[in-house]
Every structure is written in C-alpha cells, then in structure tokens.
C-alpha cells in the first residue's frame, strides 16, 4: 500500500491533557476513512492535525511523504457540522469565493467577465451537489441539508486531495441523511478524493467508509483521566462489506464504546 | 416658620457665608433670634439661583442683574437684604494678542452668555462706539474658561475672578477693560424672598447681624481670609488678589451709602435695558421698565409690578448697632 497519509507514533497533548497517543497508520490515496469513538476522545483533534490548525506534539504526520503543512491550505478541504458556509454570501458567491481568492490577490473579488467565469465554475459544482435551484438564495434560506451540500460544493471547488468531514450530518434529520450519504459517495468517486469523516453513527461509518477507525483509550488512570490519550483501537477494512460480519462488529464495538462511555462520559455545558 | 435655608456659590464676595457656616457665627445669630438657618453651598451658580427661584431656598447670593432676570422675571419678588460688594475690576475683558479694546471688533468672544460678563462686554463695546453686532459671542461655561483660553481658537474672553487672574498669568494676555471702569454696576447681593422677609423680620436680622460680624473678622484677621481662600480652592495669596479687585463693604454704613445713592437707580436702569434687549425679562415684557425695581432713591419702571427691591432697613439696624 502506497502511503499517501502516514501516521507515525503520532501523539497530541494540550499541556497535561494527553488527547491522542501512539497513532500508527498508513492511508492510501482514494480511501474513505470513517472515524468513530466516544465523545471527547480526540476525533476532532485528529482532523485538526490533518488540517494544520493544531500541531503535532510528537511523532510524525506525513502527507505524500512530507510533514503536513502547519496551516489550512486548499489541498485539504473541510466540512464542519455547522458554520461551514458564509451567511453574508449567496449560494453561488459562497462557492465562487474560492476562485476569487486565487485570482484577485488584493481585493479577493472579481468583476466583469472574470467574475462571470468564476460563477459559471461555481454553478457546475452546484449541479453536482443538487443545488442548482437555490443558486441565488442565502444560507439562512436553506435547510440544514442544503447548507451541508453547499459546504461540500464550496470545498470541492478547490479540487482538494483530501476532504475532512467532522460529523457533517450530525445536525440533520435522519430522513435527510440517506440522500447525503449517496451524495458524498458520489462525490468521492467522481473527484477521486481521500476522505476522513468523523461520525457518531456507527452504522453510517460502516455504510460509507472503505475503512473504519475506532478511537479509544486503552489505558486508564482513574485518578487522572487526562493522563493517557486515545489511540486507534480498531482499524477495519470495509472493502468486502459482509452483512453478517458488519453486524457482529457493530455489536462488539458498541459494547466496548458503551462500557467506556460510562466512565468517561464528559461534562456537557 | 422658624427654619430657613439659604444657598450660596463659590465667589470671592460670598465666601464669608462659608466661613460663617463653618465657624458657627450664623448658628449663633440664628439662635439669638430663635430660628434655624441652613447654609447650603451649590457648586453651580446658575443652579443655585434656579433652585431659589423654584422655591427650594429662602435666600440666595447673586448679582443684582441675575436677580432681575431670573427670580424677579419669574415672579419671585426678591429683596436685596445685604449688598456685600461691587466688582471693581473682578470682571474683565481679556484679549490674547491685541492691546486695546477697539481691536475686539470682529473677534469671537467667549463668555457666559446673558451673565454679568455679557453685560460688561456690552458696556465695554459701548465705551468704544461698538455694539454687540461687531463681535460674535460664544457661550462658554465658566468652569472651562481657563482651559478654553489656552486653546488656539480663543482670542477674546470676558469673565470674572478667579478666572481672570488665572488667565492673566498666561503670557500675552491683556486686560483691555474691567469692571473698575464701570464701578458699582456689578453688585453682589444676598436676595431674600420679600414675602418671607416680611413675615419673618428675624431672618433678616440674624443674617445681617451674622454678616457684619463676619465682615469685621474678615477685614481684620488675615487667617480668616486664608480660610476663605482655601475653601474656594486657592490659597490666601490667590484670594487676596481677588479681593483687591472687589470693593467689599466691610461696614454697614458703607453699604448703606451705596444703596441710598441715586446712582443705584441709574445702574439698574442700564441693567434693565440690557436685559430687555436680550429678551431676559420674559416674553410679556413690553419695555425695559416692565418689572419695577424699588430703590431707596425711587422706583424704576412699572411701580405696579415691583419684583426687585433694595431694602436698606436691616443694614441700617446693623449700622446703628441695634441688632
């Protein structure tokens, strides 16, 4: 397997709070990795490392053989659960913004013919995510599902190699999720993306991914819960998707996460 | 009624009230006439007159001009119980760069509009054949006059002490006209509501008695003047400098002579004319004599509408030593 993304004894801590430790993995280009794990176990933190908004504490995180850039850049797109789109721009402008940033260094804004071209480019992607009808709407006029479609289109206009999804459907009605799944799978194939997607829904993880990572702590210190971090406890290949196997795996993981949840259930505020 | 309140504000000629209050002289005289007198200091001069006019106080220190335009014009019949002093240089017109009064033409003059400063300016302009139309009057609060003078925009001010002395310390400031050139026209008095005074002569006696006791202490003892200086926010030297341009009537007989002279009536006529020209006598006023002013030498204006009175009888008692 050629390693596009490589994790090598990767660890991350915030001061004394060890969040991730000893992550070792290789991911090939074009894989669809889904990440599950209890709340607060460090899934989002891992995505932040990939994104470059947080830096590695020890070990290595390589992309195409080089340490990952320490800042967000267009080669790694992201869709968050919320706030991924710009409320003050309409749908087309939201998508075209990525083009404008490149072509207009000082104003970040295009005019006349070049603007038209950028918008045309945006329209293409909007068709791909099924938003052609909503081109002139503002995000607040869109449903949650449509906003996430928009966020996807926005990310894809930069033709990223890696797409990071942090619970992208967590705030959507279950009824809408199915459509979104089809959409993401379609885009993944069409654009040849490498996707890392965090989800709380184990079944979603099984359904979408070619590979599923379970994050969990293997060591616990009851007196200092922050002392040890999570690591990847399961790394399942989902290429075959055998139904019976899947169900068994789900049950096992569920039981395990469930047990862990009881002791580490975090404070909500 | 045996409880009275009087108010005063910080000014060289009214600091005796602070001294009398602090040392108990006023209480002593009040006790003598079996009444009670509250002495209240008010920072803002105009506010003190307004409070008096609105009925919160029975007596208040003010200039004769303000007595005419505020309480008298507001229907509060007032009597000048004590004439304490007149300004003899305490109010002045100061120019920044020019040397003579005539240069004021065309300048912006900062002063407290409609106050005695305004009156002084009008009299000054008259003296060199100019009128108010030849300058622009800018209303400026007295507390900020010194700071205002330090700014580049301000070239002419008309104001009173201690501000005059502060401003004159600035190099280049020239006094081109002052109240010494119109002696006896800016008169500082204690006004009492006529109605209250008539009903309670004891109030008049106690206040006048106390006043002249303070006056004699003030005239003879430098430490008294030091006290007053400090209470007004400066020191003895600063206060003495202000006194130098104030014609204090330390003795009742001096005050009497001033009040009884026919010149007082002429002065009040000037003041009334000025006030009328500036619309200060109220909308109902048809001419400068709309409000009658009674002086020992006679009545100026409408004797059917006397609202301002100069009553020498209490000062006479003091002069006679019968208090």
């Amino acid at each position: 397997m050629s390693a596009f993304i490589q994790l090598d004894r990767l660890a991350k801590n915030y001061g004394d709070n060890v969040v991730l430790e000893n992550l070792n993995c290789k991911v090939a280009e074009g894989e669809f990795v889904t990440l599950v794990g209890a709340s607060g176990c460090g899934k989002s933190t891992f995505l932040k490392l990939l994104l470059g908004t947080e830096s590695v504490s020890s070990g290595q995180l390589l992309m195409a053989g080089k340490p990952i850039e320490q800042e967000p850049s267009p080669d790694r797109g992201i869709v968050f659960q919320r706030y991924s789109v710009f409320p003050h721009l309409n749908v087309r402008e939201n998508v075209a913004l990525g083009v404008e940033f490149v072509e207009s260094k000082w104003l970040g804004r295009l005019f006349g013919k070049r603007r038209k071209e950028a918008l045309a480019q945006a329209d293409e992607l909007l068709s791909a995510v099924g938003l052609e009808q909503a081109r002139y709407k503002y995000p607040h006029e869109l449903s949650g599902g449509m906003q996430q479609r928009l966020a996807l289109a926005q990310a894809l206009i930069k033709r990223p190699k890696v797409l990071l999804l942090d619970e992208p459907f967590g705030a959507l009605d279950p009824g809408i999720r199915k459509e979104m799944h089809d959409l993401v799978l379609g885009l993944w194939r069409q654009y040849g993306l490498t996707i890392f997607m965090v989800t709380h829904d184990l079944k979603e993880g099984f359904h979408l991914g070619t590979r599923l990572w379970v994050f969990d702590k293997i060591r616990h210190d009851p007196h200092a819960p922050d002392r040890f971090g999570s690591t990847i406890t399961y790394d399942l290949s989902l290429q075959s998707k055998d139904k019976a196997l899947t169900i068994a795996a789900i049950d096992e993981i569920n039981a395990q996460l469930h047990g862990a949840e009881k002791t580490t259930e975090p404070t909500q505020s | 009624q045996d409880r009275f309140s009087i108010c005063w504000s910080i000014y060289v000629g009214w600091m005796p009230w602070e001294y009398g209050d602090a040392t108990g002289i006023i209480d002593k005289w009040a006790d003598k006439y079996d009444i009670e007198i509250d002495v209240v200091q008010i920072n803002d001069y105009i506010e003190s007159i307004n409070q008096y006019t609105a009925g919160q106080f029975d007596a208040c220190s003010m200039t004769s001009m303000d007595a005419l335009t505020i309480p008298a014009a507001g229907g509060v019949d007032s009597t000048a119980l004590i004439v304490g002093d007149f300004s003899n240089g305490n109010d002045a017109v100061i120019l920044k760069e020019a040397a003579t009064l005539a240069d004021i033409e065309g300048q912006r003059v900062n002063l407290v509009e409609l106050s005695v400063s305004h009156y002084l300016l009008a009299r000054a302009l008259e003296s060199v054949g100019l009128s108010e139309r030849d300058v622009t009057v800018v209303n400026t609060s007295d507390a900020d006059m010194v700071a205002a003078y330090s700014t580049r925009d301000v070239t002419a001010v008309t104001t009173w002490n201690p501000l005059v002395n502060e401003i004159l310390k600035v190099p280049g400031a020239t006094k081109v006209f002052d109240s010494a050139q119109i002696p006896g026209e800016i008169i500082d008095t204690l006004m009492v509501k006529t109605e209250v005074l008539e009903a309670n002569p004891n109030l008049g006696k106690a206040l006048v008695g106390a006043w002249y006791e303070i006056m004699s202490a003030m005239e003879s003892q430098p430490e008294v003047r030091a006290h007053m200086g400090e209470a007004s926010g400066t020191d003895q030297a600063g206060y003495e400098a202000q006194l130098a341009t104030t014609q204090m009537f330390y003795s009742a007989s001096d005050a009497l002579a001033f009040v009884k002279s026919p010149k007082l009536m002429t002065t009040m006529e000037y003041v009334a004319n000025f006030s009328f020209d500036h619309g200060l006598l109220g909308e109902g006023a048809a001419d400068a004599g709309f409000i009658g002013i009674q002086t020992p030498a006679g009545v100026f204006g409408n004797s059917g509408n006397i609202q301002l009175r100069f009553d020498p009888s209490y000062m006479e008692m003091a002069a006679d030593g019968s208090l």
């Binding site: 267009p74 003050h88 913004l97 | 209303n139 200060l280």
Partner: protein, 271 residues
Amino acid sequence: MRRLINLQPNRVLKVALGIIPFLLILLAYQIGSDIRKAENEQDKLLPSFSEIAAGINRMAFEPSRRTGDYEFWEDTKSSVKRLSIGIAISATIGLLVGLAAGAIPMIAAPLSPLITAISLIPPMAILPVLFIVFGLGELSKVMLIVIGVSPFLIRDILQRTQELPREQLVKAQTLGGNSWQIILRVILPQIVPRLLDAVRLSLGAAWLFLIAAEAIAATDGLGYRIFLVRRYMSMDIILPYVVWITFLAFTLDWCLLKFSRVVFPWYHAEK
C-alpha cells in the same frame, strides 16, 4: 383562571395599555402646573401647555429678533450635524481598530488593555485636556463624542469579531484566502451589521456627550439652547427641546434598525 405569567394582552389592549402611562404623565404635569400657577402666576418651572406651545411657536416658527434665524431648526441642524459626524468618525474608528484587533491577535495584545483603560476614563473629567488638544471649535464637540463613544465601539467590534465562528475562518483558509482577503471578504462584511447594532447601543451616550459639549462652548445647538435658557429658567423652551431630542434619538435608532434590516437581511434572519 389562567396563570398570570401566561396571560397575553391582545394587540388592541397592548397599544391601549402602552399609551396610558403617557397620558397619566401629561395629566400629572397639568395638575402640577396648575397648582404652581395658582401660587405664582409667573411660575416658570412648570409652564402651562399653552405657554409651551407659545415657546415652540416662538423658537420654531418665528424668526429670531436678534439673528433672523428660525432658532429651533438651526439648533437641530447644528446638533444633528455634530452628532452624525461624531458617530460616523467613531464608527469608522471602531470598525477599523476593532476589526484589526479582533482579527489579528498580534494587534489585540497591545491594544486591548489600553482600550479597556481608556473606556473607563470619564471623558467629562478630562475636558480641559481635550480642549487644548482639539481646540474649542466644531472639532472639539465632535471629538468629545468620538472619545466618549469609540472605546466602547472598539471593544464591542473586537469582541464580535472574535465571536465569529472559528470554523468560518478555517474554511476560508482552506479556500486559499490569505489574511487580508479573509478580513476583507469574510470578516468585514459580517461585522458591518454588528457595527450598526453597536452604534445603536451607543447613541444614548453620543447624545449625552453632544449635549455636554454644547453646554460648554457653542453658539448654537440643542444642548446650547437648553443650557442658555436655563439661565432664566425657560422651561417652556427646555421641555419641548427635551421631547424633541428624545424623538430625534428614537427616530435615528429606528432608521438604523430599518436600514440594517433591509441591507443585511441574512444577519437578522440568523439571530
């Protein structure tokens, strides 16, 4: 019987109830005025409604004997002009400084404590210094507003900028935006409606400082007139001026809100 906290007045009742206190105040004034007038016919403290009407007429609809101007309108014009300029300058400063500090942590570090300190200084107390620095002309009146209001605006805009979802800024970076582009195209347009909100909140203070400035040195303006006629207790002029100022303040606030609603519908839908 329904619980008191659940009882909602209907539209008509609500309007009626809203008007009642104002009527009561007018009535109380009328009675108070009558009582004082009975004691002293010349009383100036609580003039009768006809005297107030005469006062308004004199100021607004008859040219001044001295200058030939319609003083009420001249005063309004001057004050509104000063207020508008003052607010415009404050808003510009608030936007630029607040945005820069909010978006760029390296600018916030030195500015933030300074602005906190400045916002705590009561501007009235340092008037003399202001005069010396800004003179006594129109500039000083405008500057008192600016100094009184802009620290608040800067702090507010700084905070609002920092409150923008971090996710948006990250997203913009993944779209290839550099700092300047992100500030220009992502942060600035979202902050402008928030600036309007902040300006609305600071209007009260702006009026306060305008009136204080006009009380100190001026030749016209609503605050000037109030403090001038205070010299002879012309409440028949002061009271209508106060009502007029209140009305102007309300109108200005309302216009800003309407403007914001029309120009930034996405902002108001979001809230």
